[in-house]
């Protein structure tokens, strides 16, 4: 079932030198699956996430032929209606918990705020819910963490707290924007596993934005490869190594491999023709009947 359907999404910013297009006409559908979005910096992957949430600030302009959440259009909704979708139905976890948590509010207050905003209810009930969420992300001492400030917890813990906070109102879609890039390698897997389990248990759709191809291949069901604001290729994560687009192949070739060591990794060669080329879609019909 399709949760989110996007057709020909464009995000552009007027500048003195003319209009800069960060996202240039991308289309995809998201079901209750884990969708990876991969690309280098500036390829428009984060901007896509923000456009879905209606968080592109003026003077940025978002247009699309279609942007629907379970059949309802959500493109350029009035702020008031968009606020009821943000957090409640679509949520987002950002890169670095050091910056994405408010430094002068306790963690408990921040989770309770997220939950009560959409679920309402009394404070004690919200507190119980917050404790339950902290336990769900395997925080050992949730009572103490509730009263702690963000600077008092580690990065991995901070990101688990972010996940707990963003999932507290039970959204249907979670956008994870490089959720492990700022974390130590040792806690990445732990955070990912927790996020994975929660997203699966709730039958949510996950948009996992990353520049780490291997991580995405392991973790996601399906991958979109973005280049210069376009999707150049879309394929099942398990088929990543059979990618046909030269850009995807180039990305894969520039990663070191234990099973095929080379003296010198190739440098990624970019071609202008990729900017306008069509999306290569690989046999998705068999994977997702009625999908793209």
């Amino acid at each position: 079932m399709t949760l989110l359907s996007v057709r020909n999404l464009r995000v552009s910013f007027p500048t003195r030198q003319g209009t800069f297009e960060a996202v240039r006409g991308i289309s995809f559908d998201l079901g209750r699956e884990r969708l990876g979005v991969v690309g280098e910096s500036g390829s428009g992957k984060s901007m896509t996430g923000r456009a879905i949430l209606g968080l592109v600030r003026p003077p940025g302009i978002v247009t699309a032929d279609r942007m629907e959440l379970e059949g309802q259009p959500i493109l350029n909704l009035p702020e008031g209606r968009m606020r009821r979708i943000r957090g409640r139905r679509i949520s987002m976890v950002m890169q670095d918990p050091k910056f994405s948590l408010n430094p002068v509010m306790t963690i408990g207050d921040q989770i309770v705020e997220a939950y009560r905003l959409h679920a309402g209810g009394a404070k004690p009930a919200a507190r119980q819910k917050a404790l339950e969420m902290l336990r769900a992300v395997q925080i050992r001492d949730p009572e103490r963490v509730m009263g702690a400030y963000p600077h008092e917890v580690s990065g991995g813990m901070g990101q688990r707290i972010m996940i707990a906070m963003m999932l507290a109102p039970d959204p249907e879609i979670l956008i994870a924007d490089e959720p492990t890039s700022a974390l130590d390698v040792s806690v990445r897997t732990e955070v990912l596993n927790i996020m994975d389990r929660l997203v699966r248990d709730r039958g949510m759709g996950l948009i996992f934005i990353s520049h780490d191809l291997n991580l995405v291949a392991q973790f996601c069901d399906r991958v979109l490869i973005m280049y210069a604001g376009r999707i150049v290729e879309t394929l099942a994560a398990k088929d990543l190594h059979q990618a046909r687009h030269p850009y995807t192949q180039g990305l894969l070739n520039s990663l070191p491999r234990l099973d095929a060591p080379v003296d010198r990794l190739p440098v990624l060669q970019r071609q202008d023709s990729w900017r306008e080329g069509d999306t290569i879609t690989q046999s998705l019909e068999t994977e997702f009947p009625g999908g793209l």
Partner: protein, 348 residues
């Protein structure tokens, strides 16, 4: 958990050390201030003996006074005596008023405090919201208006604005009381308790005297308030802009919070800390720097007192006033330091 008590003891030690450090730096600052005022007092080309004995005294009288004032002693002994005097609250006698400097300051300082407090209050109550709204609607109408208001506040000479204010609101419209703190009929009618006439008249229950004092203070306080507003609103705006571009603001928006909650509950909470320092410094500068306003409005305050004493070569009064202003500055800094620690969880 075994490490907890240990950690708590360490935290207590750390806190004790940081308080000790603050007090030590406070004492050193005050000592430095006294040293500077002492040296200024000694290097000024004003002969304090001549001021006391007059220019027709004999050499014997002059020498006797010279010794009586301790000027024959080495400088460090003189400084030690000066320190002792200041600590016991003795700044000597003012030559121009003939009274103890301490009594003079007790009389004039409340007038300045009253004016500066009301001015700062006006500056904060209008300047902070103005700065916040200007930052939230960057480039909008409020932002443009705030920019012009601040620019005028920065660049207009206060004596001109003061004179124009008197001309329009007192001379032509008659909305406010004229120069001075009180009208003639209320002068000396209110028993002095705090020295702040607005407070004293309320304590005395004299509504008429309160209204009279208010009508006198409102114009100079508004002027001072306007100047601190200009500064406070600009600082608030730039603090807010910095916070509004922070990642946690995006988090708050992703949660679905209203723009008002994002701005006041999230961003504003983070600027309270630097804002306190700005407000304290602005208040401190009003305590010492409202000389022009005090002169234009015949406000019997500290700025006017120090200026008049300086022109009369009355160094005891000048040094006494300087020490009071300096101490206020140090105390305000200390206060903002303490509030910092209370409000910023990261400093605990």
């Amino acid at each position: 958990m075994p490490p907890a008590p240990n950690g708590r003891a360490a935290a207590r030690r750390r806190r004790a050390r940081s308080i000790g450090g603050t007090v030590l730096s406070l004492v050193l600052t005050l000592l430095g201030l006294l040293l500077v005022t002492f040296i200024i007092g000694r290097v000024m080309p004003i002969d304090p003996v001549l001021k006391v004995v007059g220019d027709r005294a004999t050499q014997a009288q002059y020498d006797a006074a010279y010794q009586a004032m301790g000027l024959d002693q080495p400088l460090y002994i003189q400084f030690a005596r000066y320190l002792g005097d200041v600590v016991t609250g003795d700044f000597g006698r003012s030559i121009s008023t003939g009274q103890l400097v301490v009594d003079d300051i007790k009389r004039v300082f409340p007038a300045t405090v009253e004016l500066a407090t009301l001015g700062t209050l006006i500056g904060v109550l209008i300047g902070v919201p103005l700065g916040v709204i200007a930052a939230a609607r960057r480039g909008g109408v409020v932002d443009q208006v705030a920019r012009v208001v601040a620019l005028v506040g920065y660049s207009m000479p206060i004596f001109w604005l003061g004179l124009m204010g008197l001309l329009v609101f007192y001379g032509i419209l008659g909305w406010v009381g004229g120069p001075g703190r009180q009208g003639i009929i209320y002068d000396g009618m209110i028993p002095t308790v705090t020295g702040l006439i607005l407070v004293d008249s309320l304590i005395a229950g004299d509504w008429g005297a309160f209204k009279d004092a208010f009508s006198h203070i409102i114009l100079p306080a508004s002027l001072l308030g306007y100047f601190s507003l200009a500064y406070i609103s600009r600082m608030t705006r730039s603090f807010m802009l910095e916070q509004l571009s922070a990642e946690y603001i995006t988090t708050a928006r992703v949660k679905g919070l209203s723009e008002r909650a994002v701005i006041w509950r999230h961003a504003f909470r983070n600027i309270r800390i630097p804002l306190i320092t700005v407000i304290a410094l602005s208040f401190g500068s009003l305590l010492e720097g409202s000389v022009l306003t005090e002169i234009i409005f015949s406000w019997p305050g500290l700025g006017q007192y120090i200026t008049k004493s300086l022109l009369a070569g009355d160094m005891n009064a000048v040094l006494g006033g300087t020490v009071v202003v300096g101490t206020c500055f140090v105390a305000l800094n200390l206060l903002s330091d303490i509030l910092y620690r209370v409000l910023d969880p990261r400093s605990k």
